[in-house]
Amino acid sequence: MVTKDQFAAAALPAAAARPHRPHRRRQKAGNSLTWRSAGLIVPFAVIFFLFLILPIGYAVYQSFLGQQSSGLGLGPSTTVFAGLSNYWSAITSPQFGAGIGRIAIFGLINIPLTIGLALLFALILDASAIPCRGLFRVIYFLPYAIPGVVGGILWAFLYQPQLSPYSDMLSALGAGQVNLLSTNMVIWSIANIVVWEFAGYNMLILTATLNAIPAEQYEAARIDGCGRVREAIRIKIPQLRPALVMTVLFAIIGTLQLFNEPLVLSLVTKSVTTTYTPNFMSYTEAFSNDDYYFAAAISVILAVITAALSFIFLTVVNRRAAR
């Protein structure tokens, strides 16, 4: 377990003392890039271009195309330029809108819960002399070690009315026969899987930040007579800000691309349709409906929304920080 002091002495000097801004740049007298040192960045540049820029570019290109048949459509079709019609179909598609609505609701449930729980337990484990603190941290982190789809399968078993110990527990507690996979419950059930998977991981990021807060700050607060809770609010949470920003940002990105858990649950319940989230819809359009162009348009829209939301979020957060 890295101690605060060790951390302070390590390569990162006085992180807590500097005001926090994302992408801090240090104006060093860096060397100019020689062709030999360029070799260090070329591998990344090549794969970044080939497997990130190029696919997105190709998807954008394909999103402007369409298929045209004639008559009964039983002869071969031609590929034509379709302009913005794929985008228009997506925007006016009630299923696409429903999918966006769902991930919005899902985000509103999932992000506060995940980050909130992460924050709560990071603070508790930091503030108190709890025995086996390290053990608790490892236990909370364990679900992260379980890959998403596998976790989804695990929880799908746990949700199935005939198999579920939780259903049994709930009915024993007097809640009656709760179907955790019904239309109303399923979004909470999916949120539960994601919270379970990621709360501990986020908690660890926050814990590491807390560990880096120098002891002197606590001394000063104690002298002022701060109680533990005030201490948390006045010292810890502000210092956690950059870490919180990062975790929330990744939670937002993760929410927007939700696919794994609905994919698994769609196998066991009709409440999860094959257009449940935009990503799932894109997959269905491409592979069940053979409409790759429409799927490309959905992927592009999703990418744009992700980028826009992230950008807005960071801007808002930074503006707050600057005030």
């Binding site: 048949s69 009964l72 459509g73 039983l74 002869g75 071969p76 239309t183 009709k270 094959t274 269905t284």
Partner: protein, 449 residues
Amino acid sequence: MIKTHLPAVWRPLRAPGRIAAALCAVALLAAGCGGSSGSSASGNTGTAQHPVTITVWDWVNSSQAISLFEKSHPGIRVKLDIVPAGAPTYAKMFAAIKAGNAPDVGLIELDTLPQFVATGGLLNIANYGADEIKNQFVGWAWNQVSFNGGVYALPLSASPIGYHFNQTLLKKYGINTVPTTYAQLAADAKIYHERNPSGYLIDVPPNTNYLALLTWQAGGRWFTAKGNTWQVGFTSPQSHMVANYLQGLINNGDAFTDMSFLTPWYQGLASGELASFVGPQWADALLAQQVGSQSGKFRVAEAPQWVAGDQVDGQEGGGSLAVFKDTKYPAAAYTFVQWMLTNPQAQVLNYESGYGWPTTTSGAKIPQLNQPIPYFGGQNPDAIYTKSNQTTEQNWQWGPNYNSVSTDLNNYLAQALSGHGTIWQALQQEEATELQELKSQGISAEAAS
């Protein structure tokens, strides 16, 4: 034949040794003959010295039939690729057709076949003699593989229907005679649920193929090719009637509404929560596998009818073997396909591998069909399924993009069954969506009048 999204991973693969031996043989022979490529030119069927190899994509393990074929056709080697069932494989097939590396032969369900014909990627096997064996097949099945004067596949399996019911449960709650009409079934469902509040007599799953079956039986048609235009009939009077019927069951709370052929549905049958269903012949194997606890208690009866005294049935599924246009060996591929359907030993082996009910009149007479089935307490349902297959309404068409229809309508139905709207509204939505979809692709379509 199941229409599912489920990859059938549970297929024992062919012994790798056989494939290796075959490939070695071809390689050696090719090398030994000084790289002759003559075998691909003449007649495409190859010879024992220069056999050709065709690739078959299938999700049923037909390796026994294939071994038999290879013995009697030394010039043709068959490489069987076991692929996932249904949608995932269709996606690969579509992509392969576009990329130009499709297999030689593929298993395609009858409902998705028109969509493949539309890609232009299937071979018109009328040119290889398919027309000559037309009379060996049941009429409704042949109608579903013929388009624009061409024949694009041979029907391989049918899904005649029957009423599968848990006799023990029905007797327990006082349903002593099997309903013969859907009206009677609804009435019985009501009584059953009153007597057994925690159980249901019948199910209403959000399953497009099931809705298709009921509509098919009612004489309705979702797609009719009139000249060069599709008439789209999701909102036809028959559709409306079926929708109202099913909605009645749901509104009264008399039906089990989980998706059929998924785990919760099997669990419902196993626990007794669901007592019966109208379903295809291939459900028998699934019941034996998934609902073992009720073995011996189920029976099969003729499916209910919409009009008392009528005998009109539909199908819930069905498969075909198609040859892809890109094949290098069309004659060999067609020889294989035709052999699979017409050879008597093949017919037996195919039924036993799990393809389903034969589509040929000769196939329907094999003794393997005429057996008592232990799961049904020794009952022999052969007569029921044979009759169902023969009385299936002849003119049902699946339309040019059934895959899309199925996806969309499954979703709309799921919404309706969860309390958001009615089944009729789901059908109306599908009618609008489908018309728009077809038109946007340039296909000529109009609402059926």
